[in-house]
Symmetry: C2
Subunit: 384 residues, 2 copies
């Protein structure tokens, strides 16, 4: 009986101790009772995104992982390198729930019409603490899926789809007409290829291997540049000249790539203007947003791209606040409408909450291999 | 007779030859005849700004400078390191006039009322080709100085004063309330200290020696951080916390300073919010604009400052276009009104056009020593 005040359910917790250990456990928490405007969702699918791993595992050294207890009582601990503890000071001693997004079935609802109308439906939800069996959210924040969609279909409705749509939307709002994307073979990158094909946007994909080039070309991508090839800059400049892309989204962050993209855009802008000399470079504004940190090393910019340029951080949350709820709802509805086509996600393996605490499985989902993604099903391995 | 079609006058020219030599000479060019809406200015004072040196000398190795001819016929040549020639491809073979700004007396005017009303006045003008004895400009673009101002007073009315005003104006327009400035002991930096004191803006000055700290404190500066001291980051964080500065203007460009400012702002923002943990850092937007390149090396960013940040180029020309002619006129009028106080410039030495081509003088003005500035007086050493 999910709505009983006494019932408890499992919620995954991540704790960094003062002594420098990461501790993952399954807490038994009361099943929450929805307020009037809320629904109670039984979560059946919640992905492990790269953006979840930071909070889940931090910089722990998984080769030191040790398990005590078993089943739902298991606790896994791992050492955190002492040099990393300073950056974690803000979370030491706090038992934190994890999981940005998920999907499941509405099994309880508050008195409001909005909440009641969702009873029994499959919904996708966002907001943290999704690695749990139950979660309440405001009815207005849930995305009702079409009737033929399962929780697995809808597990990744927000982070990747809205980031991909946020990228093309930011491009348009800032007055650009074509764009560059790095780490373009990712799940998100594949969605972006499909969105751009559908919406007629020219996209320059940057990947790091010939296999990834082939995979994106298979999806219909026209411009794919491979950082593993010596001719990268020439290839990039040619693609930037042909597309006129003057905005880029970079998931890598560290190293020289963001600056190389700005330099390439500047060369392309110079070719277009026919080459009147200016010490300050072209007057074409060139922008790169860093939205991820696959390379955590420093970003290095040669600044050989004139004075009209910008580099900045980009975060989905900030973008959604900026565009406001009506626009955000429009983007979310597009995700629901194209859930099985443009926004289809693929998972390597479905695991239970208890399995998420097994060291060999932790090592696997922490690899962040392109195209590999784990899905937690909190209802797996439990009695119905 | 300046308005005769036959009369000629001197204009300094800079040429980069295909063979890799810089060549400076004084061309004899016809004295231009003003159109209806133009005035003819006899230039009597034009500064050598850091922003002029790039076009004037390029990356030439002045230790190789050789002079042929003498007086106004002198030609000075110097070798350009072969590795630098690629970046100069756009200007090879073009004999380019130099000099961003200057001031002088209106000695000719077109038929329009606006032009005629400036006859005999001392004006400041902007737009290149100022290292010359005469220059025509549109009457509307000239800044008429107050009657007690000399051309020397008005020589540097635009680049430094408008950049300094552009900095505080950009701060306000982008929603910040206090600011950081690097290379703060420069002529421009001293103006900025005076503007901020007058306008009640909290300013964090970053300089590179104890002497410069003392000099700015003398001017009334409250926060001065010294990059030559080991406690720089602590000092910077304390000043950023106290002022709440979330925008910075960096004249240095290369190295780690721009990133250190962003990191310091992030720490200050975290202290203010009281420290609720977020992996994405604070939601305070932190911005640094690079407007100069005293260090031409790469910019290195650690990115330890969350996701709400921006770094970009800032150029006076682009700023003036963005704010439009009415706002630009308001800023220019403030320069004229405060020419002998807030915007007073100091010069190390006044030289003639011919002296600007003497190797030992070239070496002196090319040093770009803080607080040293050369002024060219094109009417110097000539018969009236």
């Amino acid at each position: 009986m999910p709505q009983s005040h006494d019932a408890t359910a499992l919620q995954l917790r991540s704790l960094v101790s003062e002594g420098g250990e990461l501790e993952l456990s399954l807490a038994k928490v009361p099943i929450p009772v929805p307020d009037d405007d809320e629904i109670l969702v039984r979560i059946e699918a919640t992905p492990i995104n790269p953006s979840d791993l930071g909070l889940l595992l931090g910089p722990a050294d998984l080769s030191t992982a040790k398990v005590t207890g078993s089943g739902d009582e298991a606790v896994v601990t791992a050492r955190i390198p002492p040099a990393m503890m300073r950056a974690l000071a803000g979370r030491v001693g706090q038992s934190l729930p994890v999981g940005n997004e998920g999907a499941g079935v509405v099994v309880g609802a508050g008195a409001s019409l909005a909440a009641q109308s969702l009873m029994g439906k499959t919904v996708a939800i966002l907001g943290g603490a999704m690695y749990a069996q139950y979660r309440t959210v405001k009815a207005a924040d849930a995305l009702a899926l079409h009737d033929d969609a399962t929780p697995r279909d809808g597990a990744s409705c927000f982070v990747n789809p809205l980031t991909a749509l946020g990228i093309t939307e930011t491009m348009r709002r800032e007055g650009h007409t074509a764009l560059v994307h790095t780490a373009a073979a990712s799940n998100l990158g594949q969605m972006l290829v499909k969105i751009c094909l559908k919406d007629g946007i020219e996209l320059v994909n940057v990947v790091r291997s010939p296999n990834q080039v082939a995979m994106l070309k298979e999806l219909g991508a026209k411009h794919v540049c491979d950082t593993s090839q010596p001719g990268l800059m020439d290839e990039l400049i040619a693609a930037l000249t042909e597309t006129g892309a003057t905005i880029g989204f970079d998931a890598i962050g560290g190293g020289r790539l963001a600056g190389q993209i700005l330099s390439g855009m500047e060369v392309a802008a110079g070719r277009k203007s026919g080459g009147a000399y200016s010490r300050y470079g072209s007057t074409t504004h060139k922008q790169v947003y860093i939205y991820g940190g696959l390379d955590t090393g420093p970003t290095e910019l040669s600044r050989g791209f004139g004075m009209y340029w910008g580099l900045g951080g980009w975060l989905l949350t900030g973008f959604l606040i900026k565009i406001g709820p009506a626009e955000a709802a429009r983007l979310r509805q597009r995700v629901a409408d194209e859930l099985k086509t443009t926004f289809a996600s693929h998972y390597t393996r479905e695991i239970s909450l208890a399995e998420a605490l097994q060291p060999e499985i932790m090592a696997a989902y922490n690899k962040r291999a392109t195209g590999e993604k784990y899905l937690i099903n909190p209802s797996k391995g439990l009695d119905a």
